[in-house]
């Protein structure tokens, strides 16, 4: 029976000091702490756990903690793998899981409000019952909370279509020790730029109590296929080509030769009536006392040999391509993708993709046996622009192979680059673990990768994230001085003492689809811009669609010190300080996306209520490069090998059709913008959620 709860020091909020509760929140899923626990250690234990169920109760917990002189650690589902929610001796753990309400859903605007303690699986199930999805599907969906997604800047397996988590957020509700309850984004009074820092603040600026998210109808169709490439470089180039062709696959996953081989990913599993010989042998050995621990011990103790064996057995790498959404758009996208990949790789049919989809949430089950076997297993996700992907892959594998078997898959692809997700398993104590990680992160960042893509920073990576942020940390500290002046909120990340200064990221190359411009004069670029904003920064994310990228990297100076933020294609090393940096330096530069050469299509029509029609096209899964209304005429333009096919689909959905016209790019409005009715004559822009007009100065 659970020990009864008791009020937290006059706050009236349910709390517990029972050992069973404190043990449970003393660690998250940081494999280092799991290894330490398995070896007999224990992380620092907090003093009390509190369960606020409203924002007002969160305020009372913070006030009570302040009165008692305790720090506060926010704890969702504790699924972070970087030690961000690890125990702090003497602290109050603010457990968010009673902030568990979902709704309302606005089926007209395609939005849902959800509290921070809601588990991802529960949210998706609730939405699916109503015909919608957030489109956020991390492998941790059944053991992570919405608040954690926001605090750590999560990304899901379908991020290439739906965006990373900050692309999905329209508003954030939070409670900050310094100012109390606040809302930023839609309907919020807080400065819009606070959103950039609240997302990714990992519990250091405020306690996120809820978010408003954009939602999408459940996809009408899903298309999945596997392709075998003979070499990694060729496959990486194919990924780049697919993204820069503006086909917007929902899924693009490339397994390196080792992962392809070890995972048996290209061969269908044979149906068996019962366990095979290997399984029976493994079960028999496992039943012997002490044998199970030793079963994996020998191979994990010889990582160099294991890596060599794996390399020797490997042949080819698997690319899984997937589209989902409106049927016609999926068909057109898939046809263009098939044509683009023809001749580059062996078509393996739908099997590999469908097998991956069926088991996409089961990968975490494979880690437990390694710990049981006396080893450790961990994953490292970094990201790099296309020009650096293979170099990062080679550098990390070379750095880690003396310590652990290492394999990799590439995913979360963007037109500018992708994430590299390394998995490694080794044997040894905490020193071995630490050395492996240090070698991996040093190699990755030296080769041009960002510190972290979507697992958050935590204790694991804060030294590198701090070095990556450099002098721009002043921006974080300035906001922290407002929101948490007493330093009440304590968490593992995102910043701490830095490692040695990181080399600046190398300049982009043509294959990266990026060009450097002056922030003050973005129109000075010589290349065709993918998203030609009137000025930078682009409107905040909740006022543009996920695929309409603002900037990638920003370089400037803080008090004379050079600083480069936002390593391509996406750096989630803590809060986004790019806007702050650009505001500090009138001479700041940014890299922004360019449009790949290739086919173009444009059509012009005069439907009634043109902006409503424009929104309908976005809601029909079309992603025009040009979507604007000029003198009452709707102008729709597409780029890439499927441009004409998308144009035909769009024309069929526009009352009166679209007459083909010469392609002409149009500048995109920059802020400040405010919501407007779709039939407001002042509308200048539309998103799937609604229309926007220029705000009064």
């Amino acid at each position: 029976m659970l020990a009864p709860m008791m009020p937290l020091q006059a706050s009236g909020v349910d709390a517990s000091t029972a050992e069973i509760d404190l043990r449970a929140v003393a660690r998250d899923l940081w494999p280092r702490d799991t290894l330490a626990w398995w070896l007999g250690g224990a992380p620092p234990r907090p003093d009390v756990v509190a369960w606020p169920s409203t924002a007002a109760e969160v305020e009372r917990v913070l006030a009570a903690a302040r009165a008692e002189g305790r720090r506060v650690v926010t704890y969702g589902a504790g699924s972070g793998v970087a030690g961000g929610a690890r125990g702090v001796a003497g602290a109050v753990v603010l457990d968010t899981k009673r902030l568990d309400r979902i709704g309302p859903l606005d089926p007209d605007r395609w939005t849902v409000d959800v509290e921070a303690g809601v588990l991802g699986e529960h949210l998706e199930r609730w939405l699916a019952a109503r015909g919608f999805t957030v489109g956020h599907s991390p492998s941790s969906i059944s053991c992570s909370t919405v608040g954690g997604w926001a605090a750590a800047r999560s990304a899901g397996q379908f991020s290439s279509k739906y965006g990373v988590f900050e692309d999905m957020v329209l508003a954030v509700d939070a409670v900050a020790p310094g100012i109390g309850a606040l809302r930023v984004g839609e309907g919020g009074e807080a400065p819009p730029e606070w959103m950039d820092q609240l997302l990714g603040s990992e519990g250091r600026l405020a306690v996120i109590t809820g978010v408003r998210l954009r939602v999408w109808p459940l996809p009408e169709r899903r298309w999945l296929r596997g392709y075998r490439f003979t070499d990694l470089a060729g496959a990486v180039d194919a990924m780049r080509a697919l993204l820069q062709a503006e086909l917007w696959p929902a899924v693009l996953r490339l397994y390196d030769p080792v992962d392809t081989r070890i995972g048996g990913r290209t061969r269908p599993k044979k149906a068996r009536r019962g366990p095979g010989v290997v399984e029976r042998l493994r079960a028999a050995i496992s039943a012997l006392p002490g044998a199970r621990e030793r079963l994996l011990a020998l191979p994990l103790s010889l990582p160099g040999l294991l890596n060599d064996l794996a390399d020797g057995l490997a042949s080819g790498c698997l690319l899984i391509v997937g589209f989902e959404g409106e049927g016609e758009v999926v068909d057109a996208s898939a046809a263009a993708a098939e044509a683009l990949l023809a001749g580059r790789a062996e078509d393996l049919g739908p099997g590999p993709g469908e097998r991956w989809y069926a088991s996409r949430h089961a990968v975490s089950y494979k880690l437990m046996p390694i710990f049981e076997g006396g080893g450790f297993a961990d994953t490292m996700e970094v990201a790099a622009p296309w020009s650096r992907v293979v170099a990062v892959y080679d550098a990390v594998r070379a750095a880690v192979r003396p310590y652990a078997l290492v394999m990799c898959h590439l995913s979360h692809a963007y037109p500018e680059g992708c994430s590299l997700y390394f998995s490694f398993a080794g044997r040894g104590d905490l020193n071995t673990y630490d050395r492996a990680w240090r070698a991996a992160l040093d190699a990755a960042t030296a080769a041009g990768a960002t510190t972290t893509h979507h697992h958050g920073v935590g204790r694991l990576k804060r030294a590198w994230a701090t070095a990556e942020a450099g002098p721009a940390i002043a921006g974080f500290e300035a906001l922290r001085a407002q929101l948490d002046p007493e330093g009440l909120l304590s968490a593992g990340g995102p910043f701490g003492a830095p490692v040695a200064a990181l080399p600046p990221p190398p300049p982009p190359e043509p294959v990266d689809g990026l060009v450097a411009v002056a922030v003050a004069r973005p129109g000075g670029a010589e290349a065709e811009l993918a998203w030609p904003w009137e000025r930078l920064p682009a409107p905040p994310r909740w006022q543009r669609a996920p695929w309409q990228v603002g900037w990638t990297e920003v370089r400037g100076a803080v008090a004379g010190q050079p600083c480069a933020l936002g390593r391509a294609p996406r750096s989630a090393a803590g809060p986004d300080l790019r806007g702050w940096l650009a505001g500090q330096d009138p001479d700041a530069t940014a890299t922004i996306s360019t449009a790949a050469p290739g086919p173009r299509w444009m059509g012009i029509g005069r439907p009634p209520q043109p902006w409503a029609v424009a929104q309908a096209l976005l809601r029909a899964d079309l992603r025009p490069a040009v979507l604007t209304v000029v003198d009452g005429a709707l102008r729709v333009g597409f780029r890439g090998p499927a441009a004409e096919a998308f144009g035909r689909i769009a024309a069929a959905q526009v009352p009166g059709g679209l007459a083909p016209a010469p392609y002409e790019a149009a500048p995109l409005p920059a802020g400040p913008l405010e919501p407007a009715a779709l039939d407001d004559p002042a509308v200048v822009w539309v998103t799937p959620q609604g229309a926007l007009r220029r705000a009064a100065p």
């Binding site: 659970l2 709860m5 899923l29 949430h361």
Partner: protein, 277 residues
């Protein structure tokens, strides 16, 4: 290595299914956290009291096993752990069997299960004798020798009683342990019983007697805030109103505030509040 290692090392993937974890919001109530305490207990890093506290959090609903891709039999292992961790208590006294002839209906009215006897009598078309079984009939918490003697006495008491009808999982488990032949009340209305099994997920794991959501401790004995939240989480998993074939389920679910009835409408409903033993 502990049999709880796999669950203790898991990234807590079954947590959305666990009604106690979902209902209370307490990390300690997740199957993973429970397993971790039991691993620590097996290694001497947690006390027996802590292990008992962890093991009795489970409601035995089987939802974690169903959700798990590996189908780890955590509920079964926790049941064994609870048996090993229970404090030793003497077996309960056995009330005498009512005199006379005719079938015997074993009741557990004091557990909030309601009276079955009138319904059984109506179905059989003849009078029945009622024997009120005490709490803890299976004497799981007794020392092994005492338990053996108690079960032998139970068998002797009901030997020659003729037909013995049972509608409560605790009773059924005791009679099975004592080797007493008995029949389940569901046999008297198979269609209604089958429908109830479907509605209450009793189909999980097979035929009665089993207690989904029975658990080691009645929900009503938990902190009221916890019990009501868990009850709501349990009720959310079951399409309501829930009909049960096992009186143990009835008592526990009703104690948790779930709208629950016997598998035949109105049979044996009791106005008595559930026992808080």
């Amino acid at each position: 290595m502990s049999e709880f290692s796999t669950c203790a090392l898991c990234p807590r993937l079954c947590r959305p299914a666990c009604p106690v974890a979902v209902g209370t919001g307490r990390e300690a109530a997740t199957p993973t956290a429970i397993a971790a305490v039991l691993v620590d207990w097996s290694r001497g890093r947690a006390s027996e009291a802590l292990a008992r506290e962890a093991a009795t959090l489970c409601l035995d609903c089987g939802a974690c096993q169903e959700h798990c891709h590996l189908h780890e039999p955590l509920p079964e292992r926790l049941r064994a752990a609870r048996r090993a961790l229970r404090p030793v208590r003497p077996p309960p006294a056995l009330p005498p069997l009512p005199p006379g002839e005719g079938p015997v209906v074993v009741e557990r009215i004091d557990a909030g299960a309601g009276a079955l006897a009138p319904w059984v009598a109506a179905r059989l078309g003849r009078p029945v004798r009622v024997w009120s079984a005490p709490d803890g009939l299976a004497a799981d918490e007794a020392a092994p020798r005492d338990r053996a003697a108690h079960l032998a006495a139970l068998a002797a008491l009901l030997a020659g009683a003729g037909e013995v009808w049972v509608g409560h999982g605790d009773v059924a488990e005791a009679l099975v342990a004592a080797g007493v032949a008995h029949r389940w009340v569901g046999e008297l209305d198979p269609a209604a019983a089958a429908a109830a099994v479907a509605s209450c997920r009793c189909g999980l794991g097979g035929a009665p007697p089993l207690a989904c959501c029975g658990g080691a401790e009645p929900l009503a004995s938990h902190h009221p805030a916890d019990a009501s939240r868990v009850g709501r989480a349990v009720g959310a998993r079951l399409p309501g109103p829930v009909r049960v074939v096992d009186g143990r389920c009835l008592a526990h679910l009703r104690g948790a505030g779930v709208d629950v009835r016997w598998f035949t409408d109105g049979v044996g409903e009791s106005d008595e509040p559930p026992s808080t033993e």
